[in-house]
Symmetry: C2
Subunit: 218 residues, 2 copies
DNA sequence: GGAAACATACCAACCGGTCGGTATGGTGCA
DNA sequence: TGCACCATACCGACCGGTTGGTATGTTTCC
């Protein structure tokens, strides 16, 4: 149905300059260790650059965190914006296809499919307002991109009692929760547990959007 | 319906000895700063004990993390086990009442209602297997405590296509995801956003358990 | 040549953890 | 009763290494 999307395969081109290498290193290290446990030296080593390069491009470690969240937001946003599921005509199917796509992206080691923003905001929400806001923007922008499809699906199915924005946020919440639960597992089970959660999300949406069909012929 | 459960009010007695004080300090600091960003000195200052006391009771910071997860698991487990919602006869209502209770516990600053295990596992899943397992136990034990109620509700409503264990895990996933999203918000909105997610979870369960009534008279 | 893009060397503060020592209270025995 | 003995609880100075960050080159490219 879709071109195969390999999980764990980064969909970003290798960065040439130090700034890009540091952002890529930040994505990898934050995903595996978290932000606080990742030192500037770690980042430089992983990126293959020196500390001078780091502080040339970023005034502080916190600024790197903000930039990493923005970088993450932009690259994932572009990926989902260009995903072919948008071509599906029926809005309900389109929303479900988004969930299926998120499910297909889950695989391999847990740090290969988890979310940088979700990981970072857990640690930094109180210590760094800048990072918190950058993560908020990342997650909420991701949610907002789904609103129009969800609104169309709701209108078609006659769903009431909630809003498209709220449902879009819930998708993000379930995804983030799936990642947290996945991190409690040993290697092999991570992806299964995460996919299970998206399965329930899919079922919720299926029931919501089919409520019309089930209740109409009474 | 229930005796009022004040959110943000710890339901644990103040600890007398250094060990207990350190565990309480760990709960507070890990919730607000995360595990890695919390130093041993921070913990000692917050607990009002010295470093000597710390390493008398815990062989390492990692061991404190494990103990904190166990402590968290035990105290929350006891709280939910003794909650009066268990008295409700109808199993479907009982499951929904658990969700309502979780919803009622959300309020005040975000670090007063979030989960220690969920926060800690995000940072430590790769760096410390011991902490990862302690957090897994905490979350999965919490989930397992719901299984019998959910199984009874499923049997009564004739729900198929999933298992009680899977649904119990999903409750935990949505709660964890709600916490992550809440942390992206400024003070006032945190609780609202978290409650919104539990609202969707409640709707999912309501639809699941009423599926019987809707589909039977065809 | 001059600014941007890096590299090297270095710093003070802080990190987790160690260590010698003390205060206290229980136990066994004369 | 009283005292030697000892385990537990706790103290705070201290250690080597690491931290985020800086100051000062050197190279690269327009």
């Amino acid at each position: 149905m879709f071109p195969v999307v390999l999980p764990n395969r980064p969909f970003r081109e290798p960065a040439a300059n130090a700034r890009g290498k540091l952002l890529e290193a930040a994505v990898r290290l934050v995903r595996t260790q978290g932000f606080a446990a990742t030192s500037v030296d770690d980042l430089c080593r992983e990126a293959g650059v020196t500390k001078g390069a780091f502080f040339h491009h970023f005034p502080s470690k916190e600024a790197l965190g903000v930039a990493a969240a923005d970088y993450w937001s932009q690259s994932t946003g572009a990926f989902f914006a260009s995903a072919p599921y948008h071509l599906i005509e029926d809005p309900v199917d389109r929303v479900l296809a988004y969930i299926d796509l998120r499910m297909a992206l889950i695989g391999g080691p847990v740090e290969s499919f988890t979310c940088v923003a979700g990981t970072m905001v857990q640690e930094a929400f109180r210590t760094s307002a800048a990072i918190r806001i950058a993560c908020e923007t990342s997650i909420m922008t991701n949610a907002a991109a789904l609103e129009s499809d969800i609104a169309a699906a709701m209108a078609q199915a006659g769903v009431t009692g909630t809003t498209a924005a709220s449902l879009a946020r819930h998708i993000q919440a379930v995804i983030q929760g799936a990642f947290v639960l996945a991190k409690t597992q040993e290697n092999q089970s991570c992806a299964d547990l995460a996919r299970e959660q998206l399965g329930h999300l899919r079922r919720y949406f299926t029931m919501l959007f089919n409520a019309d069909e089930k209740e109409a012929p009474r």
